[in-house]
Symmetry: C2
Subunit: 220 residues, 2 copies
Amino acid sequence: MPSDHTRSAILAAAERLYADRGFGDVTLRDIVAEANVNLAAVNYHFGSKDELIAELFVTRSIATNRERLRELKAAEEEGGGRAPIEVILRALVGPTLRGCLGPENQRSTAARFMIRASIESVPPIRRIKNREIDHLRKFAGAMRRSLPDRNDVDIYWGLNFALAMAHHTIRESERLTKLSEGQCDLDDVEDVVERVVSVATMALTAGRTEAKAPSRIAAR
Amino acid sequence: MPSDHTRSAILAAAERLYADRGFGDVTLRDIVAEANVNLAAVNYHFGSKDELIAELFVTRSIATNRERLRELKAAEEEGGGRAPIEVILRALVGPTLRGCLGPENQRSTAARFMIRASIESVPPIRRIKNREIDHLRKFAGAMRRSLPDRNDVDIYWGLNFALAMAHHTIRESERLTKLSEGQCDLDDVEDVVERVVSVATMALTAGRTEAKAPSRIAAR
DNA sequence: TTGCAATTCAAACAGTTGTATGAAACTATC
DNA sequence: GATAGTTTCATACAACTGTTTGAATTGCAA
């Protein structure tokens, strides 16, 4: 066993620095200084800077996705293949929100890193995110089973809006806090989860699905 | 009148290149080549690269904000100081969505630039976005007048979710198209606006506001 | 201990970046 | 048409970037 000391020191230092200062102004030299290793070690162990970033992001997002699917599977098994839509949505947005929100001073490095990744979206990360569609399809399938009356388009829009609310709230949590002068409590993660889930549920269940286009009121 | 030829050629070329290839890999040399002007012209006319980007973004976002406020003001005047919540939300998300969505081949350079700005979020742009809170406060105020029974926290969350759905749909429009295999029609902008507005309206009007915390079902 | 592979290291490389300079060209005013 | 102010230009600068190199060191197996 090759001890792995250098490799994991680089990973830890890189995640910490990226989390604190963003991808934009952290260089390999910053990372190796923080990790107390030689500059060439990054290319030796990871091949390139981008592959280092990719490995960091893949590790974390695999963990999140696994947790999502675990919750989803448990819910569907309990319901005999059909889970309530709220529970599906909670499985979709819960792990992400729990991973990224919560009291700032006790946010893990991993969480702060994932927030950065959500805000800055550098090329290696974007490439990985593009491969996440298969994962989302599983949720679309579960939602379709849960709401067999709904047409696919509504399902996809509901899924899109659920992710929108979760990710935007993470990305712009500071702004929401400032806008509301602290009245919106972003530290109460379970409250945030329930807010997102309840709105997404309404989006998916309100009205009948017959009329494909929603009531179109002329905007001007 | 100093003709302004060089200055506006730089602005046009920069906006086009940033729109097409993103901020990440467009250099000043690319821009001056596209604009057929000298390299030093950028620093002469704008001071620095960041100030050039800032000017581009400020111009576009001032235009959007003006349109938003125009719609909001018209609605409130018509309603005697109190506009229906749907109309307020339409004024909030309509201009942005109309500016950034629609048939890809007829999207303006400005629209594609704003999509980039929404995705990549470079420092000079982030600085400007942080100053937009005052603008959002005006909408929060209008929403409060429209829904006097709602408490502030719910208003802010509704505002947050409305922006979330609009911006996320813009940012991830490609992914939604791919996920839905083209079934979700992102080119029908007014349909998108109505979907966002109707969900946001539900978020803001459903249930009573008495119970500060929504029904909390244990997630696990 | 010897030998061999894996790892670490200092140093340099090659390229790019935004910015600064100072002279040249232009423009408009008197 | 001389002058003053603005704008353009070629060029250089200085700094920083990720990556590579080849020698030194380490750790382990024979």
